[in-house]
Symmetry: D2
Subunit: 416 residues, 4 copies
């Protein structure tokens, strides 16, 4: 019984169950792993705390972990991405859920700490938040702690910084660095879901428009590629010369952001950093530009600066806030500057999370199977990464070739 | 005063107004024409009946016509595409509105006839329905009737058939045959909005999937192009050899539908015809295929056949009906087989309708300025078509070149 | 015996034959029509004069016409596109050939008139040149003349002008307006062969470069599409507002040419007009820009202006002339400003010409079967166009669907 | 004086010089580095042997090394890629050149050893051949040897194998693993030049055709992407599940090769391995398939098998050999199975080699600056890689952004 859950609205559970059932049909990689783990029970007597967006795809991972023997706790990664009906459905499935849509910052932070009270052996983390708490404020709850599987690029950067400063005490698997994950999620999943949520929120045409993408990492690349595919002219702003060169060779324009914002109809942040769009840019931004954050948290677009330069702000449509500047220019901010595909959409497509969560499941198993790894931020072993790809191909009915023995040998020989 | 309107829910008007205000900012071509017509009042003392989807973009056209002096009546084209809040907002703007979301077939048909009671001078029609009624059942309301501006391909085909049979008594402008319209709406608008509504409804990834598009006319072409751009493998089924050849040259596969449905993850109709997907195809359709109609009405996918071969049918998610066959295969039908971007989305993007409705406004003007045209189904004169393109370019801040006099002359000369 | 041929270098014939044999394997549509016509001999006792590029693909059309019973004469369309080895091989095949690589303008013009001495029943023309001569200077050779099948856009424009001025005395089939022709040749064939000849001539990378395409007709569209596909950023210059709008919606930039030339790494004309790039543009052109004509004749880039502003000109590489301006800027002109894919490449890919020449064969048959058509410039009847598409699909092993009887009827019915 | 050079045809030098001068204008990154190195002379008194294709781009690298103070020797990587005119021109520039077009295998092998007689400090190697010789047969010439900069994937694999077996005695920089190199060369350069040489050799259309690409590494990816861009339907054959998954998500088909060859119009190897296309595939290969090697050496397509199953073989056109099978099927092999863009084209586009060779120049400098590195196969340090990207951006006139101090700090902080 979910007596310690924050979920009061259990009447929402049926709708949550319907969502989960629909999604589950499209997460066949996870389902295949779940079936195998349900037999071998690799997570028996282990406590696992997941910090992720509370939505139907996450529910499928939670159920896998439970069926593999774990005690599972789920805490929200973002108050505005929490789907209360899914939370309610999970609570009925013996999974502890902390979070509710629209909770205050205080409630949100307090949920994180309450979740850790289950004394996790492993955490599936987003942003490194739980891992960081277990090093400091919640240090007393780290007794069982073996290590973390980290979801986000920002989290990986922060934890690598802890490692560099000698402060990291546990091993971390950077699932985001897995080949499968960037292929499926960052390039394809995010690109699609960011545009599907923008199109659905604004009902504006993308073809013929100028799209500015800030940051040409995996996320930015996915967004830019789909934008081009939808018929937009794309401008990239970057700080890394190699990524800027890649953008040029991909047929895109590259220019400093302060120049780009005066041309952009859609301006999309994907840097993982803060204050990327600020007053310097708002001074010259194109009238009626649509501002979108597709990167991280709600700090990439500086809302304080936005409010400071505006004489009026109002809701123009659902998830669209209209700011009017003194000189009459307007800009439209989607989803209050939160990550658009979660906050104004259903998050990543189901099959993308299928791969991503399969990698987390393998990472959790790798940590539990190797409890004495030294502190490090490392990739998932290539073998496990390929294992997930293989299940994916199998689920799609795709066959691949094999090297012959002669071919295996060939590459080590010199012709003369 | 909207006393004869069907709209009872005037409390919805504020939300409708908010929608219209947002959309209006993105319909600058229409707005530019509206400003010019508000001065010259070309539609003074004219009654205009529009049969279109009742949504915010349509509202902007209605307001233009009103500001140009017309008495405007709007009747729904589809009960499931009617947005009651927009209807309510329009009712407050002295526009007669007939329609409500979810009305029965009887109510729907009766609305069409009631709308004609305003004795239109011109109708903006979809499917040729109003024009047909004015030739037959509502013949007594045709006293003022000058001609029609027709929106849909299906309508044009029907009216051309009437023309061929000597039954057409009035001139019809086939706005769908305008260059601007197929560029903006059919290729770009429909392609985008069909995918945005599919992605939003299903939350499934398109990349890596097999998409079958039935019909490679303008609509099908737009859908196929965006599908390829989103990373899908695309199969076309066609009956016309030239269109099939075009698909091949566009890098797509072409095969008979009965073969294609066994490979398709998404199967999308765009033919304007009936019974395109029927029991012959359901017998061999791929398990978990998503069935989508993006063409016309709700007849392209044969729902009777679908129900006949199923042992169970239930709602899998909002706008997704799951059918289970005897052999265990499932298929998912979106939006009950109605046109997906209207029935499970917000219809065409605003700027697409901006062009389309600008062409209707020009067509209405052309009809009113030339009241004695003989019965025919013709294109909008090329000059008016280019006029709309010019306003579009102007609104985007784009400049174009001009031919020099020498160049104008060059093409008529022979070198020796 | 080709005693009246200009071809002296019959030793080249074997190499020409090898070229033709290779190409013939890839022209299966033409070969299928040739087999059918060889049985029915529809051109028996007819004289046909072809004015086309003398290359292997053209040879296959000449052989078809001969096998269908005609007396065939071939005259070069451009001295720099003539392949002497192919000419030699054709001379051995009882086809009269007029032309040699590098002939002077005088020789070239004289060839045209000599070719007409065979008193053609039908001409296959390019640029309307033969048709024009038969109206004037060679009027006395027009005794048998029934009509012409015209290949180029420029020719069609000129002949339409003659029609408008009441000067056209014979029917002309504008093969270029056939659906199949623009699909295969203009969009796909020209796009590919222009880029393949540019890449082969310059060995420069296209990805990451700025490509300016002047003219967004079928040819320009094909070039722009492939440029984008190869990773370039594409700028269009246009005079027609509808075409400029289409470019915008296709995700391309549009700007006046004088602005575009300052940004372009490759500047490509595709207008069919003269003096498109002139001193006004050379004043501001980007240093090291590559100038390419892909449109018509050698007049699109004004070479007089180019020489006037240059202090030096020399051959930088085969088919590349380097001009140095007073201020030190250089520009490179490909193939002396002649149509690049013919003058610095092998012309259109074989399968593209397969379709194009199949349409000419059908056009010739249509003219001969209907000898009393009145003067006009008209399309090939849609039925013949579809016939060619059908043979193409068949040759590719592609099957298409058929409408059911119910579906054929459906489109003429109204629902109520 | 090139008295010890194999070059007898010094009359070719002017044409070689013209080629080099043209190419040099398009290698601005190399030119910028050359200018800097000509001042600091970092390679003074060092002997450098380069094993590369002898063409104009390679010449520019040789000149840079010479201007930086080195004694430079160049030996051909492939007898069929050697351009005698470029070799002649280089011989005049005080660079020792070993190689001539069409040399026998014996001559070719002997050239390699003669080249090493200059006792190199550093080699720029392709295939690890020189490095391997310096470990064995030419061990006595290794007295000065510091290390190698390796160009090809195959070479890297072989040298890594030597490392794994404890046999590698010197450090090797795998330039191919540089970010800049795979961006510019493998993805963009090879993709473009492979297609440009295929199109130029065959004059066949790519749009609408089925292209089979074997191997979805960087090279295969580049070829597949351009094929799709040119309008082909692309099938990938792969042995690695992650790469196969990537292909699927990129919208391509994946199937076992033995199935794919029966559908392919173009079949292109890009594996770096041997016997990839063999009798097993020839048994079922599509009639008239074009066989192309874009990977490595001339072993990917098994020519013995090809000859064994053929009843006839002849030259169909320049660089196209036609094999006829017993059952009448024909296949066409390009460039005798050698790497197509070198053997039937001008190799990589100049600007691609500009980056690639700039990386080699930096690698040579890194080796000379760090003469005591231990045996290893490692990447070029990221800093040097970014240095080359920065010069590229600068040469293109592209500006990029910089992180603010606040942003640099942000990524190391946790929000709570």
């Amino acid at each position: 019984m979910p007596t310690d859950s924050m979920i009061r609205l259990l009447t929402l559970a049926p709708r949550g169950n319907q969502k989960i059932e629909w999604i589950r049909q499209h997460m066949s990689v996870l389902d295949c792993i779940r079936e195998r783990f349900a037999e071998t029970m690799p997570f028996e007597n282990k406590n696992i705390v997941m910090r992720l967006h509370i939505e139907a795809t996450t529910a499928c991972l939670a159920i896998l972990l439970r069926d593999a023997g774990a005690e599972v706790t789920l805490v929200q990664a973002d108050p505005l991405s929490t789907q209360d009906d899914v939370a309610a459905a999970l609570a009925e499935e013996c999974i502890k859920v902390f979070g509710h849509y629209g909770s205050t910052l205080e409630e949100h932070q307090s949920y994180q700490k309450e979740a850790l009270e289950s004394k996790p052996h492993v955490v599936i983390d987003m942003g490194g938040i739980l891992t960081h708490l277990l090093h400091g404020e919640c240090h007393d709850l780290a007794g069982n702690f073996i290590g973390a599987s980290e979801e986000s690029t920002t989290g990986v950067k922060r934890l690598k910084n802890m490692l560099a400063n000698g402060k990291l005490k546990y091993p971390v698997i950077a699932v985001n660095d897995s080949l499968s994950k960037y292929l499926f999620e960052n390039v394809h999943g995010t690109g699609q879901s960011v545009w599907s949520s923008i199109m659905n929120t604004t009902n504006l045409v993308v073809g013929g428009k100028v799209v500015v993408v800030i940051g040409y990492g995996w996320t930015g690349k996915g967004i830019a590629r789909k934008a081009k595919a939808l018929g937009a002219r794309v401008i990239i702003s970057e700080v890394d010369p190699a990524k800027a060169s890649e953008a040029i060779l991909d047929g895109l324009s590259v220019m400093p952001l302060v120049e780009a914002v005066s041309k952009g109809d859609f301006i999309i942040t994907a840097t993982g950093n803060q204050g990327v769009v600020n007053s310097q840019h708002l001074n010259v931004i194109k009238n009626r530009a649509i501002l979108v954050n597709a990167g991280h948290s709600n700090v990439e677009i500086n809302k304080c600066d936005l409010e400071a330069v505006s004489v009026e702000s109002k809701e123009a449509a659902k998830n669209i806030r209209q700011y009017t500047f003194e000189d009459g220019r307007k800009v439209f901010l989607l989803a209050e500057g939160r990550v658009v595909n979660s906050a104004a959409g259903d998050g990543q497509p189901a099959e993308v999370m299928d791969i991503s969560f399969a990698l987390h499941a393998m990472a959790v198993k790798h940590l539990i199977d190797n409890p004495d790894k030294k502190p490090d931020v490392s990739k998932l072993p290539r073998k496990l990464d390929e294992y997930v790809s293989s299940i994916y191909l199998h689920s799609m009915g795709i066959e691949k070739d094999e090297l012959s023995e002669a071919q295996k040998n060939y590459l080590s020989r010199f012709p003369f």
